[in-house]
């Protein structure tokens, strides 16, 4: 077994209540690493050519909860959740920071593949070299906070009961879903630690469809042995030095950006992206910091970046709401995107989205979309049961709840922005295009809180348009080469990309080599490993279905809104250049060895050892 791997994976058949240990060959691991890459490969292995026909929320749809070889050893512990995405029909390597990752590794497992569907709510409890399914009926319906509180106690008590004589049992790590996931809200998130989410991909609903409330792990073993331990320890120290030098991140997190991104780079969603600029000083970082940040350096396992800050509302109707910061994405999506510029309201809605188990980006994107439809007269007061208003906390508080519980219009919105557009068009006797122009998504995945129109943010022209993970702002496309060693790598090695930026790439790759012993190079990742993973993801995305197939080129594009001129701010009038998009998209395909419609060529598949895809791709060509 290469270094960095615990060496075994769990395969859980929920229908049959069966748990097996499996291993993967060194070659597979070297080729796909872990997390995002390995999950795509295993998904293919499980489903294969039948991909197009398989409903992602059906029992036969696999769900992967994987670490990677660098998880927990490289700073910034994370877990990668994947499978056939209920929103994109492809796969997303959706990661979240959680102690589950390191606990699972300490317990001796690199990941879990779930198949089937439990007949009643369960959670998986992983302990040292052992795993079991536990009844979760008493947890079903609970919000995130309560789930976490109860599970923590219950599992700690159970472990203490089993082995009372080792001293105190430390709390386990866990991921879980809230009501949104349970009720199969298509873009619901998998949550961890009350405010961390694997949001993109909608894997919360996939967990919900399997009656799987949570995955919990507590291991007492070492982190996996590595190929070159002394080098790893030195690199570990060096990496932390880089992280500790990032004073702006440590001081401000991303929570200063809700004001700065809007005011400066003009790329923040405002009222469902009708604007991307604001200069609302009330929404500035210091206003959050001074009144709400009760812990200013907050980190996950083995991380000194401390991008997180614990926020707590101490007074008023939302007293007791707790979240992280909110980070920039939720500041934007649960704030400005709702026309809300009050830190307290923003914290409340972020905490609410988290507690309900929504993705704080995707769910609120849908909510914003709905309110714009109302603004445009497409949805009425009656459709909502009240009069929705921008900037009104009650409005969005209600919509988020209605979605999570599929009540009223919430039942439609629960299908995610893209599908909801079709359903509402049908309801209202309109053409889908009339609604889709307000739907800010790419390939079913709502776009992260970074616009492309000002061209002043890190997201540009084909960032989303070409990404195999659609609107996912954590995995944007650039040129099909440089981006391969970015998110595609971190999501497969599985660590936080906030511990990646600011550390020299050569150091990260040396770290990977020291851990795994693979003869890998930066160039190798950019030209072979990365493209292999992305090409496989692309293939799955194109196979799509059932009832949903993305059209090459046409769907490899930005949402219509990104081509409207910015209406305000320093970049007023500016917009995304369609000609540049077209041209860069072709270059991107070219670089990756895909044809001019973005379909991988036979040669490319062969070169990347992906010949198993040829049959399916041939059909699409």
């Amino acid at each position: 077994m290469p270094g960095g791997y615990a060496g075994k994976w769990l395969e859980v058949d929920l229908s049959k209540d069966k748990i097996e240990e499996v291993t993967y060959s060194d070659k597979i691991l070297e080729q796909y690493f872990g997390g995002r890459g390995l999950a795509a490969k295993i998904a293919w292995d499980k489903v294969g050519d039948k991909w197009s026909e398989m409903d992602p929320l059906a029992p036969e749809s696999p769900l992967m909860v994987y670490t990677g070889p660098m998880t927990a050893i490289y700073p910034g512990t994370r877990i990668c959740v994947s499978g056939k995405s209920p929103v994109s029909m492809g796969t997303v390597g959706s990661t979240a920071a959680t102690e589950l990752a390191n606990e699972m590794k300490s317990a001796g497992y690199d990941g879990v593949t779930f198949m089937g569907k439990a007949d009643k709510p369960v959670y998986l409890l992983i302990t040292d070299n052992s795993a079991e399914l536990v009844d979760a009926s008493h947890l079903w319906g609970l919000d995130g906070e309560k789930t976490l509180i109860k599970l923590n106690k219950e599992v700690t008590d159970e472990l203490t009961k089993r082995k009372p004589n080792v001293g105190l049992w430390k709390d386990p790590g866990m991921i879980y879903i809230g009501p949104a996931g349970e009720n199969l809200i298509r873009n619901a998130a998998v949550l961890a630690k009350i405010c961390h989410a694997a949001g993109y991909g909608g894997y919360g609903s996939l967990m919900g469809s399997k009656n799987l409330k949570a995955v919990v792990a507590k291991g007492r073993g070492t982190l996996p042995v590595v190929d070159a331990p002394e080098a790893t320890i030195l690199l570990w120290k060096k990496t932390h030095e880089h992280l500790m030098a990032r004073s702006a991140m440590r001081r401000q997190g991303t929570g200063y950006a809700g004001y700065a991104v809007g005011a400066d780079t003009s790329s923040e969603p405002i009222r469902n992206w009708q604007e991307e600029w604001h200069d609302e000083k009330s929404f500035g970082g210091p206003m959050f910091e001074t009144r709400f940040w009760v812990k200013k350096k907050w980190a996950d396992f083995n991380c000194t970046t401390n991008c997180m800050k614990v926020s707590c509302i101490k007074t008023g109707p939302w007293k007791g709401d707790i979240t992280d910061m909110p980070d920039y994405e939720l500041q934007a999506y649960c704030g400005t995107n709702f026309g809300i510029f009050d830190p307290e309201a923003n914290i409340h809605l972020s905490a609410l989205a988290d507690q309900l188990g929504h993705s704080g980006i995707n769910g609120p994107n849908t909510a914003g979309f709905a309110v714009e439809l109302h603004q445009r007269g497409i949805l009425s007061d009656e459709d909502f049961g009240f009069k929705p208003k921008w900037g009104d906390v009650e409005t969005f508080d209600k919509i988020l709840r209605m979605m999570a519980y599929r009540e009223g219009i919430g039942d439609v919105l629960a299908e995610g922005t893209y599908k909801a557009a079709f359903l509402i068009a049908k309801m209202k006797g309109k053409k889908p295009e009339e609604l889709l122009k307000y739907a800010v998504h790419v390939k079913g995945i709502e776009v992260g809180a970074h616009g492309t129109r000002s061209d002043a943010d890190y997201t540009h022209d084909i960032s989303y348009a070409a990404s195999v993970q659609g609107g996912d702002h954590t995995s944007v496309a650039s040129d099909g080469y440089n981006d391969m060693s970015g998110a595609v790598f971190t999501d497969s090695a599985v660590f936080c990309n906030f511990t990646y930026y600011g550390v020299p790439q050569s150091l990260v790759f040396d770290f990977a080599k020291a851990i795994t012993g693979f003869p890998m190079t930066l160039h190798g990742w950019r030209s072979v490993t990365g493209p292999r993973i992305v090409t496989l993801q692309k293939a799955l995305l194109m196979m799509g279905g059932p009832g949903l197939k993305w059209e090459p080129i046409k769907d490899d594009d930005n949402p219509p809104r990104f081509y409207e001129p910015l209406p305000s701010g320093p970049y007023k009038g500016k917009t995304t250049d369609k000609a540049v998009v077209d041209q860069k998209l072709q270059a991107y395909f070219d670089t990756l060895g895909w044809d001019n419609r973005g379909i991988p060529t036979k040669e490319t598949l062969k070169k990347l050892d992906l010949a198993f895809l040829e049959k399916s791709m041939a059909k699409l060509r």
């Binding site: 927990a72 050893i73 102690e99 390191n102 300490s106 040292d128 906070e145 976490l148 509180i149 109860k150 923590n152 106690k153 004589n165 080792v166 001293g167 105190l168 430390k170 709390d171 630690k193 009350i194 405010c195 291991g219 007492r220 073993g221 070492t222 982190l223 042995v225 331990p229 320890i233 570990w236 932390h240 500790m244 440590r250 009760v294 812990k295 350096k297 907050w298 980190a299 996950d300 396992f301 083995n302 991380c303 000194t304 401390n306 614990v310 707590c312 101490k314 007293k319 007791g320 707790i322």
Partner: protein, 174 residues
């Protein structure tokens, strides 16, 4: 000469990064092994992080309790030293400790207690380096307060919760 030292803990300042555990286990085990670390950061609710380690009670109830004389006090640092050969894994030290600090090592099942790394605790080094100062070294004579830090970390977290979250803090730990 090493003088008696003590590791002061400022719970509010702990980020939960758990580098202390990694540094401790790298020092003692040669590799990253959180559960074998002599300091463990309990985190019963997000934001409530409680580094849990030996607080060197003035009266060393753990040492008193050991029937096999496997525990002793390091004359230089005042740390509790475990004679792993003599230890029978009986767990008496764990029960005697008011904070249930010792654990049985996940590898050899022997009593596991902070030995202050012989006077230069690695956990403190990485914590100070990172600017948290949740763990810092104090040079002082043993005092009676130390015993009060030997407390169940979940109880400590309950107190911390109220300070951080106000009334909500009463609800976050079951």
């Amino acid at each position: 000469m090493v003088k008696p030292i003590w590791i002061s803990r400022d719970y509010d300042a702990c980020s939960g990064c758990r580098r202390c555990e990694l540094a401790c286990s790298i020092h003692h085990e040669g590799w990253m092994w959180p559960e074998a670390s002599r300091v463990r950061v309990f985190m019963p609710f997000p934001g409530l992080e409680v580094p849990h380690l030996c607080s060197q009670c003035q009266d060393y109830p753990c040492i008193e309790s050991c029937k096999f004389d496997a525990l002793s006090i390091d004359p230089d640092t005042d740390a509790v030293i475990v004679d792993r050969e003599a230890c029978t894994s009986c767990g008496l030290c764990i029960t005697a400790c008011p904070g249930t600090v010792p654990t049985l090592h996940p590898g050899d099942n022997k009593a596991n207690i902070c030995d202050l790394c012989g006077g230069e605790p690695k956990c403190v080094e990485v914590c100070v380096e990172a600017g948290y100062n949740a763990l810092t070294i104090v040079h002082e004579e043993p005092n009676i307060h130390r015993k009060l830090y030997s407390r169940n970390p979940v109880d400590t977290a309950r107190d911390l919760a109220v300070k951080m979250f106000g009334e909500k803090g009463l609800e976050v730990i079951e």
